[in-house]
Symmetry: C2
Subunit: 105 residues, 2 copies
């Protein structure tokens, strides 16, 4: 299996308690992975000092917050969380899968 070409669909997985985090690739400067939510699951609002992050919603529907803004997100929504700006998933309304990318170092 290649470490350069990764089939994301085969890596999706859910967990009963907390939402599931799946690492896809990690370098010295950037990481990418999946965040997978069952309906009702959430990710506490948090911030990363010195690291920019985005989510791309691949499947599902969820309510998210970035800074002072909240939105209902679905497939194709890119959620941009600049360094230091609090962000999180208030609640997944459906099974939701998000690709994340975050700067490192």
């Amino acid at each position: 299996m290649s470490s350069f070409f990764i089939a994301t669909g085969a890596r999706v997985g859910f967990a009963g308690g907390k939402f599931a985090k799946v690492d896809l690739a990690r370098g010295d400067h950037l990481m990418t992975g999946l965040n997978c939510f069952e309906p009702g699951q959430a990710q506490a609002v948090h911030a990363h000092a010195g690291a920019d992050k985005f989510y791309l919603v691949l499947e599902g529907k969820a309510r998210m917050r970035v800074g002072p803004e909240e939105a209902e997100v679905g497939p194709g929504t890119l959620v941009w969380a600049p360094a230091g700006v609090p962000h999180g998933v208030l609640e997944a309304a459906e099974r939701s899968v998000m690709l994340i990318g975050m700067s490192l170092g």
Copy 2:
């Protein structure tokens, strides 16, 4: 319009000559955008010193290279290009849309 919540589908666009690049968001540490290819268009193999990058194929089909590896990619394939490793799109077989994320600074 929010700068935190971005509808990527509304930003897709193609160009007649070279493939189209669309910036979606840019911070001090990370940028994200779309690369949109008409059938037959390519992106020359290139490398970024000190910057990791990935592509997530959203639509279409294309032949890509990373380092010594080549693959036919389609929706859901994540293509990981670590800093310094040459990568590119040899040829799009169909109209193809890829989300990219790249570390900065």
